[in-house]
Amino acid sequence: MISAQKQMITNGYAGLPFGKVSQCDAGSVGLLGVPSEVDSGPRYGASLAPDALRKMTGQLGTSLPVNGRDLGNLDLSGDWLGVLMQLVTQMADRDVVPVVLGGASDVASAVLAAFPDRPVVAAMPLARRDLIERPSNTTWVGLNGEQPADVWDQISQRMMDWRTARQLDEVQANTLDVPERAVLWIDLSVIDLGHAAGAVGLNPGGMKPETLVSVIGAMSCSWHAIVITGLAPALDTRGMSELAAIETLNAALRHG
């Protein structure tokens, strides 16, 4: 076996060593793949995302700005949502930042359920009702104009801060009101279909990938957890969507 092949097998995401939660140091990250699949619609392939991201970071020689362990992929048999909540809670208790690579949106729902009172920064095209109904406010990044009126009303009433994809593409993003600590959820469908097609949601009015990276990178926020969902790598032969996910995650981790 040549050395490059060995490296692919023994190194996890961005060269992180594989390990267990108990091996993660305080202040580091614990990266977990959760390869769940979308259960409806014509665009699927989210289950391929965690391994595709590991492979691409290996090919690009990407490294993370923080130390950590790659915890491998979660076994999706049995009560995996419960196990996922338990794992991220364990990591948070050890002051380890869980970085969860979905998978479909059910992965993010489970992560958010583990932090029920924490504010959320959500990069997604459509505001989700379950986020609007959380006790803490959500900061919305990259919404498009397709929100139902009652959703806009609730966002307004709660005085949640939000920016549309177009606003973010056209002006500087550092004016967003972000909390000091939050859970970050990036749904890759927030990126415009024309720039990166590897997402389970079709979003013709989305953000440019580089805008997403700069918006998240400009947030002086530290994260309770980071979860990325909706990446369907097989739908993007150029790898732009994977690249966007990788660079956005790195940008997020530069601040914490």
């Binding site: 690009l60 990938p209 580089e210 990276v213 150029r238 790898g239 732009m240 690249l243 966007a244 660079e247």
Partner: protein
């Protein structure tokens, strides 16, 4: 056989459509363009070596630079790094000693390393490498020999078929940097792109071809 087919078979594709020649054809100040078919030694990535071939195939249109020559391909020994390096250096030295300026096209950045060694042997001093992204430019005197490094991985993701990064330069920005390169550019290396054989590939090859033309023009200008 029709005229068009005859022309297609008769014409040897060359960089930018310039005449094909050999070492003895070179004259001082001329721009010699050579293919570098080695992509496994420095920042290895398979298929970067095919850039020279693709640029020759894509060179059918436009006016050929008046003072440039396609020197063929540098002899390489990719599986024997020591032999390879000394052979490439000696070939680069032979070109530079004629007073011609040399462009290595394709492959990985090992060609740039060989160019640096060859330039030092010919000029008797270290020759600064100027990156197309700006780098050490500063206030170099016009007579200072320099080598221009054009790493096509610095192109922004929109321009390449398999991007390594989202941000980067457009071909126009890269061309502007090439024009603004200070010093006396005696050699250049254009490398780092594995051209894909699809529609996206044709975009990146056309971009690389435009960049090669800018590099050839900049070298012909010599001292900046």
């Amino acid at each position: 056989m029709g005229d068009a087919a005859q022309i297609q078979f008769d014409t040897i594709p060359s960089f930018l459509g310039v005449p094909v020649g050999d070492l003895e054809d070179l004259v001082p100040g001329q721009v010699a363009i050579a293919g570098y078919f080695c992509d496994n030694l420095s920042r290895p990535a398979a298929e970067q070596r095919y850039l020279a071939r693709q640029l020759r195939y894509a060179s059918g249109h436009g006016k050929a630079p008046a003072n440039a020559i396609d020197l063929g391909d540098v002899n390489v020994f990719p599986l024997e790094p020591d032999k390879h390096f000394s052979a490439v250096v000696s070939q680069c030295v032979a070109v530079l000693e004629t007073g011609a300026r040399l462009v290595l096209v394709g492959g990985d950045s090992s060609g740039l390393k060989a160019l640096g060694t060859a330039a030092r042997q010919v000029t008797g001093a270290d020759v600064p490498v100027i990156e197309v992204t700006g780098g050490i430019a500063g206030n170099l005197p016009n007579v200072q020999p320099v080598i221009l490094s054009v790493d096509l991985q610095e192109l922004a993701a929109n321009w390449v078929s398999h991007p390594h990064r989202l941000a980067g330069l457009s071909p126009a920005q890269m061309a502007a940097q090439i024009v603004a390169t200070p010093g006396n550019v005696i050699a250049a290396a254009i490398y780092g792109l594995a051209p894909a054989l699809d529609n996206r590939g044709s975009t990146e090859v056309r971009a690389a071809l435009a960049i090669l033309r800018e590099v050839s023009d900049r070298l012909e200008k010599g001292a900046g």
